[in-house]
């Protein structure tokens, strides 16, 4: 048993990771963030345990990269409260971007859990696996995230 060639990881997981990152950091930053994810993964790859869950490992890295991007955006003086700098996102804004800006502004764990739960329709056990936590912790993160989103979003929308 040995680690598969790195390029097969790109083929197998890039599209899905990209979707995760679009939800976490927005379409403008997603591709850069995906590149950084794979570069970090490549750096650490030879030292990885041979029986590691590769997908969960990649999601852990992607989550970390996404969290960095969101934090950077929030620190930017010109950024608005939802953490998105209007000047930095020339890409066409989706109709529901307000909702996704709210998701991005959630604490990172909750944002990731909400994306796994609703964008990928995963069960809590699997979300826990991808985030390196328990099923129970995943359920809690989703619940807390949803509660915050409901409070932010006006009922008549």
């Amino acid at each position: 048993m040995h680690l598969p060639p790195f390029e097969t990881l790109i083929d197998a997981h890039a599209t899905e990771l990209h979707r995760f990152l679009v939800a976490r950091v927005g379409p403008t930053e997603a591709e850069d963030c995906l590149q950084e994810t794979f570069m970090s993964a490549l750096r650490a790859y030879p030292r990885l345990r041979h029986d590691a869950n590769l997908r969960a490992w990649l999601y852990t890295i992607a989550h970390r990269k996404a969290t960095d991007v969101v934090r950077r955006a929030m620190r930017r003086p010109s950024s608005s409260l939802d953490g998105i700098d209007p000047a930095a996102s020339p890409a066409p804004v989706a109709a529901d971007d307000g909702l996704w800006a709210d998701v991005r502004a959630l604490p990172p764990k909750q944002a990731a859990a909400v994306v796994h739960r609703f964008v990928f329709d995963l069960a809590f056990a699997e979300i826990g696996q991808r985030m390196g936590t328990s099923e129970e912790a995943a359920r809690r993160s989703v619940h807390e995230g949803l509660t915050k989103l409901r409070r932010r979003i006006p009922h008549d929308r």
Partner: protein, 203 residues
């Protein structure tokens, strides 16, 4: 409870990803950062498409069509390093030299060989083979002797048959003592072609 919020969350924008471009960009960046342990690319030769595999130490494998590239990539991931990616520009030096060789304007290769795939006696056999000059020939027995075991000509034949870098390590220049062509990894037609190119056989 599935409410409006949950429904809208399931309708996330998918985002467009150009996988080909991502692979190319990553290969480029990985190479520059020194994180690519094995890079490969295809070279269209007169003998069919060859696959060139290089490491930071040099050329590690050059393969004729026939063996699936995925299988070779898997094997190199296991034997050299799992940091393997298609990165054709990393093989440009080898490809340029192959171009010149097939065009008749180059008679020796100036690329370092990464010998990690070849151990023991086979290694000695192939290093001896690498010293046979363009236009020259040798025999299995002579090569075995050069490698230190004159009687091990069968083992020498096996080593030549599993040469991971044909053409560049010119195992096609090794023939039977009686004048027969012997065998060849890429098939005898390719051996004849190379010997004709080098002026040993009539074209």
């Amino acid at each position: 409870m599935t409410d409006d919020l949950e429904r809208r969350l399931t309708e996330a924008p998918a985002g467009d990803l150009d996988l080909e471009r991502l692979r190319a960009t990553l290969a480029e960046r990985a190479g520059e950062a020194g994180l690519l342990d094995v890079a490969y690319g295809t070279y269209d030769s007169p003998l069919g498409p060859l696959t060139v595999f290089v490491t930071p130490r040099g050329l590690v494998r050059l393969s004729y069509p026939g063996e699936p590239v995925e299988a070779q990539v898997d094997e190199l991931a296991a034997t050299i390093s799992p940091r393997v990616m298609a990165a054709p520009t990393r093989t440009d030096d080898v490809r340029r030299q192959l171009d010149a060789y097939f065009a008749g304007s180059r008679t020796s290769f100036d690329v370092p060989i990464d010998w990690r795939l070849v151990r023991g006696f086979a290694n000695a056999v192939l290093r001896a083979t690498a010293r046979i000059p363009f236009g020259g020939i040798s025999t299995y027995r002579e090569i075995a002797a050069e490698a230190g075991s004159p009687n091990a000509y069968r083992a020498a034949g096996n080593a030549l048959g599993s040469n991971p870098v044909p053409i560049v390590v010119p195992c096609h220049r090794v023939l039977h003592a009686g004048g027969g062509l012997g065998g060849y990894t890429g098939g005898l037609d390719r051996k004849r072609y190379l010997l004709a190119l080098e002026g040993v056989l009539e074209a």
